[in-house]
Structure formats: C-alpha cells, structure tokens
Symmetry: C2
Subunit: 349 residues, 2 copies
DNA sequence: GTGAAAGCGCTAACAT
DNA sequence: ATGTTAGCGCTTTCAC
C-alpha cells in the first residue's frame, strides 16, 4: 500500500525474485487473484486480468516452481538415470524421452552415473531419491540390477529400459530376439553355412540376448555354432575381431551386435583385401544414421528408439498419474534393413 | 507421542511423503534436530543422531527438495535448452555438461526445443523462465539469436555454446577457425591446388565459421576458391555432393564440414571408382568415434567437446555463485588428426 | 546440544 | 469476481 518500488532499490539486482505478493501489491489486488491469473483460471474479470498481467510484465514476475511443488506435492519432472549418453541408442532414447515428456508437460532431470561401480550406483540412487522428481527412467545394462542388492528408490514409479526385470518392474525394451533371429536367418537364407558373431560385452543384457538368439537360430537351422567373439561395442573391438576373421577362409558371414563393431569389422575386411559381400557378408544392429553410408551400405537391424522412449514415458506417466500399470515388459519390434553388405555365400572352393 | 505408525495405515501406500515432522515424532526429537542430522551438522549428540537416522530409515524419509529450495531460493539445478540431442557434438557436449554439473552438485534439467521455429523458441524460453533452475546453458545454432527479438530469460545467468554473441553473453565455443584453417592448409601443403568445401547449412554459426575460414585460407594461399556445396550435416547430403564432385576431374581435395558428410562423400567416391586418397583426399570435422574406422580412416579436425562442456559449467556456476564473469567468449582449441584419407595431390595429367 | 517460532511463495478451501 | 486464511516441509534465528 506504500512504496512498493522500494523493494528492489538496491544498486545491484536483488537475488530475491519477484513474488506473487509483489505483483498483487503493484496491481492492487490480492495475491490469490494473481494466482488465478497465473494459472489461467477463467473467473477473473478481464480488466483485472490485464492489470495483473501488466504488473507481472513490468515487475518481471516468474512463478516459483518450488513453492508450487511444495503445495501440490508434484514436481512435474521425471528423473533419468543412465551410465552414458555416448551411445547411439541411449542418445536416441533420451531424445525421444525428452520430447515425450515435454509434450506431457514434464521436465527431465538428468542423473548420469559415470562409473558403474556398485558405490556409484547406490550413490546415484540415493541422490536421485531426494531429487524433485515424480518418476524415474533407468537406462542401463541390466546386470547391475541382477547381481546386487542396492535398493532402487521406493515409493516412486520406475520404468526400466533394456532389462529383463519385467516381473519386478515396468520394463520397455526393443525386440532383441526378433532382430538377432532375423539377421541370422537372413544370412542363412543367403546360403551361408553358418554365421559368426561379434558380440557385445557379456555384461550387457541386450548383448547377451542377441548372442543367445543368434546361437538358438543357428542350432535350430542345424548349422554349426562358432565360438562368439566378444567386443565392447567399439569400432576398435570390431576391427580387432575382423582382422582375425578375415584370416580364416571358413568365414563367409558375420553378424555384429552393433553397427560400430560392424564398421570395424568391415574396415578390417577391406584392409585384408576381402570383398564385401563378395567374400564375406556383414550384418550390424541399430541402424544408425551413418550405417546407410558405410562402405558398403550396411545391412542392419533397425531399432525404433523413438518408440521405446515414447512407450517408456507413456507407461511412467501412467503410473505417476494413477492409471496404474503392473510390472510387465513392453516390447518394441525391430526389423531388418537389407542393404549392400550382405549377399549370397561365395561358391565353395 | 501416540500411534505414529498409523500414519500410513491405509491399504495402498499413501501419496503423502514422510516429512521431517514424522521423523521427529518417531524419534522423539524436534524437527529442528532432524534437519540438523539431515544436513550433516555437527552439533548433534551421537546417540540422538543415531536415533534420528534409524527413524529416517524405518520411515523411509526423503528430504523434500521443493521445500528446501523454497527456503533457500536455490534449486541447485541447471537448465539446458537445445534443438536436438541427435548430433554427435551436442550429445558429447551434453554428456560433459552432465558430468561437470553433477560433480558440482547440480542437477540438469533438459529443455528440448524440437522445432526451432520462432514460436517454439519463445515458448521454450518462457517455460524455461519458470523452471526451477539457477542458470541456463543454451546449445544451438546462433542465427536464431541474431535475427529475432525474442527475449532470453532475464535475471538468470546464461552461457551460450556455439555462437558469436560473446559481446552480449558468456559464450563457450570450439576454435572453428583454427580447425578449418588447419584442415585447409594440410591439404594445400600436400600439394593440392585448391580445396573444395562441402559446407554445413548456412543457418549454422559453426558451419558459416568453417566456411569463411576455409575461404580465407584459400585466398591467403593464392588458391582458387571453388563454389562451396551446402549440405545439411547428413551423410546423404555429403553423398549427393560427393557424387557431383566425383564427376569432375579438377577435384583432388575435399574438406567436409563434419565427419558424417565426409563419410557420405567417401561413399560417393568409392561408388564412382575414385581412390581415396590416391585420386582425391578427404578431410572431415569432429573426430567422431567412428571416423578412425571409416574406409579409409578419416583425417579430421578433433573437437574437444568434453572441454567445452566443462568450461561451460565452470563459467555458469561461477556466475550463479557470484564469482561473476562478464560477457566474453571462451575458445577451446581444435587439432587436426591426420589419418589415411589424405595424401599428396596426384600428378597432374 | 536441543527446541520453538517464523516464514519462504504458492494454492485449496472457504468466505464475501 | 475477488479476498482471507491456513499450511505444504524445510531452514534460519534465537532461545534455553
């Protein structure tokens, strides 16, 4: 009622932000009316609304989310915990998650766990535990969930990506098995007597899943099952194994567990003077943007990461907002994209 | 003092979370003491502390960040606004930002802006405006800052990545000019009479910067400046331009503004039967993980995205916590990584 | 070493 | 259509 402008009359801008009370003062209304305007309620006179809006603008009012959350008990925010952003799949999934949650009016809080040691994970969880989030998405290799007893946060909805914990948690995953089977059968159908596998690390759930399905498919077809070669997803590991495979003349078909290793394999093949697909066919997994421009363009299994992200947020928000879903696994299909890196088996010598 | 366990005695878990008061009740102390324990203050008797800790555990107490923020006026959170996660550079930068801010005890709030239209940006900013963040990092093409008058959030520290707005804002960027110059000179020094450029989109600040430095370097060396070919960062656009360049016999050296376009160019060259680097040398920009496994391994400009992210958070937190820095630009060096895609110019016909 | 009181900015519930 | 009251969970201040 008196000198409202004196509030910020210090030299440097005050740290204290403009509150509803300030706006109310300035506009000569109650803070409740300001609240109504701020929330777009209809029961405010147009003239009053304009006056309040004007005051908001001049004062530079920004609603305080903390206060709002304190009142409502909701944060409108989803926490994402992940080991690394730096894989194609994680990045794509995160992108989709971000888009989907933004569309639903939720903000994303990132919780990276740089070193997946037991301590780091527990630490991340306990930190996440006190974050202002309404739900959590966990993106990582499932084995850490298996062989440890650290506590996942309780009393808060959780969705896990890339795991087999579907009996205990809500899980969303791509159809690893379908992809690996289709890839292997594609090669077999092309007349290759068997298919070699450059696998992902044994610690990875999806790598294990691709490996076992490759093995089963081979067995079902009555083909020999060569010893798998374990890589670490990197082009270098693919290159190393590729060099080894290039040296053997009984290798005509290779299924790599991701595109990067496939790229490394192909580089090794090129360097060894083996023709692709003339001598050896190569299939990858992921269908990264680049894979269609590899030399030769790579036959690979397409994963719909965007759909994974979407499903994941849909399930999570469902749980948050009460449309509850029990634990269970949602599987997003994969499909084989045939390009130029695969062809008929060479005539036998 | 009475039946504290009755609090949650409903069938399904109550939405209301365990408060300090609950813990205080359970432990038979004041909530003030619980607060002290929760914040690790020392002036609490060991026995009391243990009792409180035990109560926290049994009750499953989680501090409420909203209340804490409401009191302190701080959110310990940094907002990141970006157009897309799905580029190598953005992803790497975000990764570094996440790591750096986690180390500093800050949480990251993601604000994706899917469609960089004017409306979307303003909308994102006004939404961001009311987010619970202490500072903002903006990662995107600079032109949107140039030719529009939408308001950046006010009264909150901002750091911009990949921009030339250093006079108005705090900016962190990689040394685009150094990279483009080194790449071009590398080719010139190899005896190539000139260097063709597959540029990024004209709307991108870094693309424009690489283009202009390429041009200047050529001019300074007295070399012809061919018409640049504009791509959109994608392998396909590189492929298209590569096809065109492969058809001209006066092309011996190509500088692509990123690795993906370089990959596309190389595919086109392979398909056209041109040898790399025998007939044509190719240089990229970024040094993605895959580029060392391209065929042939790509000579490219390495960008230290991790350092960009680190610097960015350092500057931002400096501003947030008062160690103020005026507007200005921090430049992170780049360096050329020479691999097998570049070689001496072929003897002239 | 511990407790009581006040209030951060907001909104739900209840006036008027 | 607008105002008043109370209180969300926490921390700061001051008392003991």
């Amino acid at each position: 009622m008196t000198d409202v402008d004196a509030i910020d009359a210090t030299d440097r801008p005050s740290r204290r932000s403009v509150s509803m009370a300030d706006v109310a003062n300035h506009a000569g209304v109650s803070s409740q009316t300001v609240s109504r305007v701020s929330n777009g309620k209809t029961n405010v006179d147009d003239a009053t609304r304009e006056r309040v809006l004007a005051s908001m603008r001049t004062l530079g009012y920004r609603p305080n989310r903390a206060a709002r959350s304190l009142k409502s008990g909701r944060f409108k925010s989803i926490g994402v915990i992940m080991f690394t952003l730096s894989t194609f799949g994680n990045m794509r999934t995160l992108d989709a998650i971000a888009t989907a949650s933004a569309a639903a009016g939720y903000t994303l809080t990132l919780m990276p766990v740089p070193h997946p040691t037991q301590g780091a994970i527990s630490g991340a969880f306990s930190r996440l535990n006190e974050q202002a989030v309404d739900g959590i998405v966990i993106i990582f290799e499932a084995h850490v969930l298996d062989d440890s007893d650290f506590a996942l946060p309780r009393g808060i909805p959780i969705v896990i990506i890339d795991s087999d914990a579907g009996d205990r948690y809500t899980v969303v995953d791509t159809d690893q098995a379908l992809g690996a089977r289709t890839a292997t059968e594609h090669l077999l159908n092309l007349g290759h007597r068997t298919v070699w596998h450059v696998a992902g690390p044994a610690s990875s759930f999806s790598a294990r899943r691709r490996l076992s399905t490759w093995r089963e498919t081979l067995t079902a077809a009555g083909a020999d099952v060569p010893e798998p070669l374990y890589g670490d997803w990197s082009t270098e590991s693919g290159y190393r194994h590729g060099l080894e495979l290039a040296g053997r003349d009984d290798v005509t078909a290779i299924f790599a567990a991701n595109d990067q290793m496939a790229l490394g394999v192909m580089r090794a093949l090129h360097e060894s003077g083996r023709s692709i697909p003339g001598d050896i066919s190569v299939v990858g997994f992921d269908d990264t943007d680049e894979s269609k421009s590899f030399w030769p363009p790579l036959t690979t299994v397409h994963q719909d990461f965007a759909e994974v992200g979407r499903q994941c947020i849909e399930k999570l928000i469902g749980e948050i907002e009460g449309t509850h879903e029990s634990p269970g696994t949602t599987i997003v299909p994969t499909r084989l994209v045939v390009r130029d890196s695969t062809g008929p088996a060479p005539a036998r010598s």
